[in-house]
Symmetry: C2
Subunit: 418 residues, 2 copies
Amino acid sequence: MSGQHTDSIDAAGNGLLHRRFFLKTGALAATALMTAQSSARDRPAWMNAPGKGMSAAGEPSQYEKHVKRLAASRPGTTGSGASRSPLEHLEGIITPSRLHFERHHSGIPEIDPGQHRLALFGEVARPLSFSAEDLCRYPLVSNIQFLECSGNSGAMIAPSPVENSCSILHGLVSGSEWSGVPLALLLDEAGIKASGKWIIASGADSARMSRSIPLSKIYDDAIIALYQNGERLRPGNGYPMRLFLPGWEGNASVKWLKTLQVTDQPAMTKDETSKYSDLGETGKAELFTFDMGVKSLITSPSPGLDLDRQGLYQISGIAWSGAGRIKKVEVSTDGGSSWADAHLDAQPLPKSLTRFRAAWRWQGGQSVLLSRATDEVGQVQPTRAQVMKGRAPGSFYHYNGIQAWQVQTDGKLRNVYV
Amino acid sequence: MSGQHTDSIDAAGNGLLHRRFFLKTGALAATALMTAQSSARDRPAWMNAPGKGMSAAGEPSQYEKHVKRLAASRPGTTGSGASRSPLEHLEGIITPSRLHFERHHSGIPEIDPGQHRLALFGEVARPLSFSAEDLCRYPLVSNIQFLECSGNSGAMIAPSPVENSCSILHGLVSGSEWSGVPLALLLDEAGIKASGKWIIASGADSARMSRSIPLSKIYDDAIIALYQNGERLRPGNGYPMRLFLPGWEGNASVKWLKTLQVTDQPAMTKDETSKYSDLGETGKAELFTFDMGVKSLITSPSPGLDLDRQGLYQISGIAWSGAGRIKKVEVSTDGGSSWADAHLDAQPLPKSLTRFRAAWRWQGGQSVLLSRATDEVGQVQPTRAQVMKGRAPGSFYHYNGIQAWQVQTDGKLRNVYV
């Protein structure tokens, strides 16, 4: 299944190329330069006058206005909905903070940090209260990690493939450098009683988003995040502080964190019973399926980024796993008949997006592009059929099936089931 | 010199603490919570109505407006100057793109990517021309790396210490994830002739910034950068494409890259003779000192972030080296009498900012904070006296001396020489 590997230029069927043979294919993207000397003398308009001056904050180019989040609220609300990262226009493993996905249940509170405190109480010896400035006195940690909404890719449960872009279908995942205080430090300071087994985290939004988290996760790697990609959190991602639980479903990383109550059992809040629990086909709900599974996506090419001519393309995508590091990503351009290992940048980081890339020569025929990730604990990304097995109709959380993009002979791409 | 290390709470003199004993110091930043129940019921104004709705791009909080770049142009110009990263307000190793430092010689050209081409010619078999879209068909690579202006920290050569903030003194360094095409791939496609030894890179700004780069660097790790922190470069950082030379002085990473001419010798452009060369005290100029030295800075506390009470503080800073990975950073709070190793996050990345942190208890006395970085090739950050030795008066490039912040008994910090 993991593809025939040969010493030829071809890494697998239907045009997948070995990266090291890329240059030998003789059909690269450059144009022959006819007039080197005139090119050096050529002065476009923007070279004939001084450019724009310095500024307190840099802005994207006016030619990149199409790179934006796709925001949608439920009818009748302004703040219950999601904005999705434009994955097909991004590269690498960092999502710019302005383009990080958001999912809100009652809009974005605009919190004055001078008036916000985090209360830690319940089954503890010493109830404590912290401002954001207090938290900055503790030893911080920084890690580059992904965050994914458990509802991401939920449209893939539709009986027929939904025609849409990569970001509309899968844009509720992003990657950032998160800096904050290990929550274990604060719990140690408060002194957990023997009866303390869970922690109920609740936010300062008007929906009072609340989740129950087992203490084992808190002591593993939970932080109170204060910074995202170097600067303080933005309001849409929990300013002035949020819980951050690496590798777990996004809603458990409660934004605008206001209270942490240590308890002997989970609270069964509305956000873990009416929502965010997985319904099986027997009608039984599974609670507390926190871990995000191993997953990958080809972000380019993808629907909307159509192929305009035969020849070489880079296949580029992201892979991630809530269980740790990505070990490998295989790609196929013939719908799974043959596979080749994609190239991964440097050392994949644990619980982080990992960028994968492969070289591909499109010869104008129909093609089906797939990617399949494997993580360091041996989990292999499942097929759609495997994910759908045993689910109740409409149960859409935690979808991590292999995505298929069909390339048509006219170069257009679309979402298909294989 | 590298500090006495003991098993006590103290890691070195004057209050530097072992990280693992942090909690035992009994003087933490939290406040006792008196009213746990009321805290859970308390509803600040922003919890009583739905918050702001979804948006196409997230914005920073209105309470973080002080976190901005410090921009200054030469009198009589709008575009010749620099904007500096607000280092003392940032954490981790990623600088948000809007806050990345910029240094321009004639402002920021607003380039239409549809009209921009990169020409590669000179001592090559096949002169070539590339649009940004062409370049996206090649196999990209992504790396998190620093960029530093060779003039960064130049104010430190003043005979008396300049009273200013960390970002005014040292804000011409930033860290990003850079994604682009290895330039070696393009050179291989063009076919370098035996006579080709250097490459003259020149930009599409109205100053036509131009630098000569030896081919050895190009074949080592040079890229044509297209993306910064996940999105396309911003105009201030070279949109639609720039040269990026990891670990080398920033001006050599020519922005708005327009031509690459392969030559048998350097071109001695205005930007490498009248500027960006180091003048020795004998009056002889050293050309082509590209590598940025090993360096570190304590960003917090620093001038402007004054200490408001005795007790625990986190010392946080950044270290970097043009030669590779940071191996260790030592900190001192007693002006260098004793040192302790700072904590580094995870595995430092090569030619990247590395965040270091240490726990410190300020007991109200005078204190002098220092950091000293060592890189993987064994370079140790020099003292100011060592850096100044042999320089002509006014020669300010490539300053990487140890920075001293004096903490006064009133908690204010200032730049001092030790």
